[in-house]
């Protein structure tokens, strides 16, 4: 019975993770229990390690093991360009592209009243402070192209424009390299209405 309590504790903790339901949590817990190559310990160590060493950059909010992230520290970067994203993982996605040479600003979410998230819960004030202190020449808003991301983008533009800094929004449309015939009709209609002269 005591053993059951211990494994139950692990299952309960695992269900608190996003995307993990009861069934998956049970599977993971029993797997960890049965596995005897030291996986349990190495997962636990990795988690502790992350919690102990990784934190968020004091300037941009990106993940780092130091005070500043490597992007903010890099002097070759264009410091006049700030790209605003929702999550640290969005920074990774943009960095994989390899051609963007500016800095980032991670909001840690998007405005979503239905989830109780307002502007004060995001790192918007930090963004405004940055714009006032550093010589920012353009703010690129790269929040997700959904209702919440769009609302956040509009909100930011309303606060940043009065400071005299231009605000731009990333474009949306057809994926490059994709076949036209496989695009869904909404994307296709939007791409058509957003066409440009050649």
């Amino acid at each position: 019975m005591e053993n059951r309590g211990t494994i139950q504790h692990l299952i309960n903790e695992l269900t608190k993770l996003p995307g993990i339901g009861r069934r998956t949590a049970e599977r993971l817990a029993y797997f960890i229990l049965k596995e005897d190559g030291g996986l349990g310990k190495s997962i636990a160590d990795a988690i502790l390690d992350v919690k102990r060493r990784v934190r968020f950059c004091e300037v941009c909010g990106n993940m780092t093991e130091k005070e500043l992230c490597e992007i903010c520290e890099d002097n070759r970067r264009d410091r006049g360009l700030v790209c605003v994203v929702e999550e640290p993982k969005d920074v990774w996605a943009l960095e994989r592209m390899g051609t963007y040479r500016g800095l980032y600003h991670v909001l840690m979410g998007a405005i979503s009243p239905l989830d109780g998230i307002g502007p004060e819960d995001l790192r918007i004030r930090e963004l405004l402070n940055r714009i006032e202190k550093e010589r920012v020449k353009e703010v690129i808003v790269a929040t997700d192209p959904n209702v919440e991301g769009d609302a956040t983008a509009l909100y930011i533009s309303k606060l940043v424009k009065p400071l005299g800094v231009p605000v731009t929004r990333i474009a949306s449309g057809l994926p490059v390299g994709g076949d036209l015939e496989y695009a869904d009709s909404v994307t296709l209609s939007k791409a058509l209405s957003g066409r440009r002269p050649l």
Partner: protein, 366 residues
């Protein structure tokens, strides 16, 4: 377009049925509860993946079975193709020409049909919400952007209502941002809805000229509160009107913590020489208005998508007298395939010529 044949398996009271239809008028005869409406429902499922009777999928399954299957063979200007909707324990699946589709919602656009049934009376006498869902259904099946805008618009409305309810002080910039989104998505809805109502109204006027010399003079009207009074005034753009309406209602919205201005409060009404049929019309007149609305929907599909939809008429002559029934039948596009149910042949006027008769008894078709 035309439904050539349909196969039902464990659908409602049908165990297994294969039915071939004529291209013209098909009469489905049967007693109450024989399964006439269920057959129309099966065709409708192939068009929208859902029942027109707002029934859950589990209600469409035959008693004591785990799932149903409906497959139709259609022909149109695209040629011949099959659409199949299968529902089992793992949910609903859609197959077009035998190939599985990623999403069941992809069914939109393959089969155009218009259902005429008892609850249509709500489109005349019912609450505004029923009327908005009618407009939304017609526009969503013909315009994917409409559906996308509708989804986003309703989401912003919910966000804004929650924000107004939860916050003690209002952040003006946030409210302006949400309003900007409402105008962007909602403006599209208003434009499309007003175009659709205009189209159907024109259809009704022409229909009246054809079969109603001397009246009744029914008129379909679109009401949106962003226009202030009545319909959209000529000149001012929808965006301008919407922006002004949001400014006008701003204070009230904050006090009542509700979203007031916008197409989520739209309505349509039938006027019979300045009388609202909703309040003053007889049941017969309301039924007639509802049928005209549905015939207008069919005409809209033909006009915007270039398809003549299949007409599914479920015992619609209920409240109409013989003269009006005859008029309705004369209005049906002769090119359209019709599936019409009735309990007795004598309930249909003599001018109704049919190509095939099917007798339905307890979920079996002869």
């Amino acid at each position: 377009m035309r439904l050539e044949s349909i196969t039902l398996s464990d659908f409602r009271n049908y165990k297994r049925s294969d039915i071939r239809f004529s291209g013209g008028r098909n009469l489905l005869l049967g007693k109450n509860g024989a399964g006439k409406s269920n057959l129309l429902e099966a065709v409708y499922v192939l068009s929208t993946s859902k029942s027109f009777r707002q029934a859950k999928d589990s209600k469409l399954v035959r008693w004591d079975t785990d799932g149903f299957m409906v497959r139709g063979v259609f022909s149109s200007t695209r040629g011949k193709y099959t659409v199949e909707v299968a529902c089992g324990r793992e949910g609903k699946k859609l197959f077009v020409n035998g190939t599985p589709e990623e999403r069941v919602s992809n069914v939109i656009g393959y089969v155009y049909c218009v259902i005429f049934y008892f609850d249509d009376i709500l489109l005349v006498k019912g609450p505004p919400a029923s009327k908005r869902s009618f407009l939304d259904l017609v526009l969503s099946t013909t315009d994917p952007l409409y559906f996308d805008n509708l989804r986003r618009y309703l989401s912003v409305v919910r966000h804004k209502a929650k924000y107004l309810k939860d916050s003690t002080t209002v952040d003006r910039n946030l409210l302006l941002s949400l309003n900007e989104q409402l105008v962007q998505f909602g403006g599209y809805l208003v434009d499309k809805r007003s175009e659709l109502v205009l189209f159907i109204n024109r259809y009704i006027q022409e229909a009246a000229k054809k079969v109603y010399p001397g009246g009744p003079f029914l008129e379909l009207k679109y009401h949106t509160n962003i226009a202030g009074e009545g319909k959209i005034a000529g000149g001012a753009s929808t965006v301008d009107l919407f922006v002004h309406a949001l400014e006008r209602c701003g204070r009230q919205e904050i006090i009542t913590a509700q979203c007031i201005a916008g197409p989520h409060r739209d309505d349509i009404s039938f006027m019979d020489e300045n009388h609202d049929v909703r309040h003053f019309g007889s049941i017969g007149e309301a039924r007639l208005a509802a049928i005209l609305l549905k015939l207008g929907q069919a005409s809209f599909y033909t006009n915007s998508r270039g398809v003549v939809p299949i007409l599914l008429m479920d015992d619609i002559m209920l409240e109409l007298d013989m003269r009006n029934t005859e008029r309705v039948i004369r209005l049906v596009d002769p090119q359209s395939q019709t599936l019409i149910t009735t309990t007795e042949k004598s309930k249909l006027p003599e001018i109704f010529q049919y190509d095939s008769v099917f007798t339905i008894i307890d979920g079996r078709v002869n």
